[in-house]
């Protein structure tokens, strides 16, 4: 375990930034949203809460070019986007977002492996930061997330210091930087961690969502409550695009000066044209689309992969323009549990 004073965090991050591409949470003034950006000069760091945008986009960007088609001198060629080499470091990630990455791994790293995602995942050294200031919308503890310890290296902020515990082999790569600024220590910080865990578990959202639906598809699919829940869903993609576990994308080719570029970009199951095919449209109403999203997170994903497809970050809860959010769904499906038993 390493320990540094709060004041020397800047020195540590600068040392890491010398060697690696470093991303940290930033917020530019009161009116702006917070997201992960390149460290740069270290200005505008935002470490006091969960960011509006998560770390997903560092591994699975909203839009990325996957190949180019080129015609030159009468010949046609395909050029796959090259994978970047070298490690990069993400500092200040929250445990919920890191759990989100593990959820994405189940999709992108299963056969056939996603080349670009895999390369970013292998190159990314994730330093988590303990979540001492949970929001009322946080319910990560419901999904077994430990808000005090996660990632390749777990950082925890106490009153006067930061502690760093290396959790994985990849995390060891940062030992030189940690040693240059921090001291090694045997301090016991388990009590600090327990405080963080207890605080998170007491958030209103965590209390509201503690009874997750544990029912099969058949028991929940036709519940009349879906009509009520989805009645005022606008059909926008806010929840999907801010979600740390949503992984649907679409692919499109665009013209370039000498051929075409193939891009993949996030898509949302909330959109009316998401499932549009030449044969027709399987999900015709917003109710069906809404149900798909929440059933996928809470039921299908669990049935197929063994874990819930939600990590309890609470972004959809905070940002849904119609407040038709996850907590309301979990509570209603929980009530459905009662009705069935």
């Amino acid at each position: 375990m390493y320990k540094c004073s709060k004041e020397s965090l800047g020195a540590l991050l600068s040392a890491i930034n010398e060697k690696y591409a470093l991303y940290v949470p930033k917020k530019h003034g009161e009116g702006s949203v917070s997201s992960f950006e390149a460290y740069g000069d270290g200005e505008n760091m935002y470490l006091s809460g969960i960011t509006d945008r998560g770390i997903k986009e560092l591994f699975f960007p909203q839009c990325e070019e996957i190949a180019r088609f080129v015609t030159a001198n009468g010949a046609f060629g395909v050029k796959e986007t090259a994978v970047k080499s070298g490690y990069n470091v993400i500092f200040g990630a929250r445990a919920c977002d890191i759990k989100g990455l593990q959820t994405l791994d189940l999709v992108f790293l299963a056969e056939p492996e996603d080349r670009l995602y895999k390369s970013r995942r292998e190159a990314g050294i994730v330093v988590s930061l303990s979540c001492g200031e949970p929001s009322e919308t946080c319910f990560c503890t419901c999904f077994g997330v430990d808000p005090s310890k996660s990632g390749d290296i777990a950082a925890i902020g106490t009153d006067g210091a930061y502690y760093f515990e290396i959790l994985t082999e990849k995390g060891r790569l940062l030992i030189p930087e940690l040693s240059s600024v921090c001291k090694t220590t045997d301090d016991d910080i388990e009590a600090e961690r327990d405080k963080i865990r207890a605080k998170a578990a007491l958030m209103p959202a965590a209390l509201a969502a503690k009874d997750l639906p544990d029912k099969k598809t058949d028991e929940l699919f036709d519940l009349p409550v879906w009509d009520k829940l989805s009645a005022h869903c606008l059909g926008c993609g806010t929840c999907t695009y801010l979600c740390p576990t949503c992984q649907c994308y679409d692919i499109k080719d665009s013209k370039t000066a000498d051929g075409a570029a193939r891009c993949r970009f996030w898509d949302s199951c909330m959109y009316s044209d998401f499932t549009k095919m030449s044969a027709g449209q399987p999900r015709l109403t917003q109710k069906e689309r809404y149900r798909q999203r929440f059933m996928h997170k809470l039921v299908y994903f669990k049935e197929n992969q063994g874990i819930y497809g939600c990590v309890g970050c609470g972004r959809c809860v905070r940002k849904c323009p119609a407040s038709a959010h996850m907590i309301k769904v979990i509570k209603e499906l929980g009530k459905a549990d009662e009705r069935h038993t």
Binding site: R68, V70, A72, K79, K255, T256, A257
Partner: protein, 149 residues
Amino acid sequence: MQLNGYKPKIVAFCCNWCSYAGADLAGSSRFTYPDNVKIIRVPCSCRVDPVFILRAFGGGADGVMICGCHPGDCHYTSGNYHTRRRMKLLFSMLDYLGIEKERMKLIWISASEGEKFASAATDFMNTVARLGENRRLGDLRCKSKTEQN
């Protein structure tokens, strides 16, 4: 037509009933106009949706001109009056977003004004050439060649 070796791309939307015939007349009367003005024929200038203009810029155009019948002469009575309002607002918005409004032009050209078409196209071409390449409202992928390695 070029300026310092730079040859801008111009898209001209021409109304079928007037300026398209005007451009035709420019040709048959041997009035020269720049060969990098690409004409797209539309049934009326008010057929030009703002999306068309933005897409033209996106696809690599450096300037876009919309040519219609003189006010009062619209084949469909009032199409060009609508064009005038729409373009006034659109150009003003693009200017507001910091995009050079000289890259867009609405001009009235009748079927008998071949010479006017040629001179308007040449003038517009010169204006755009002075502004240089459109970097502010374009899909830059359409400008750059794929790196070869």
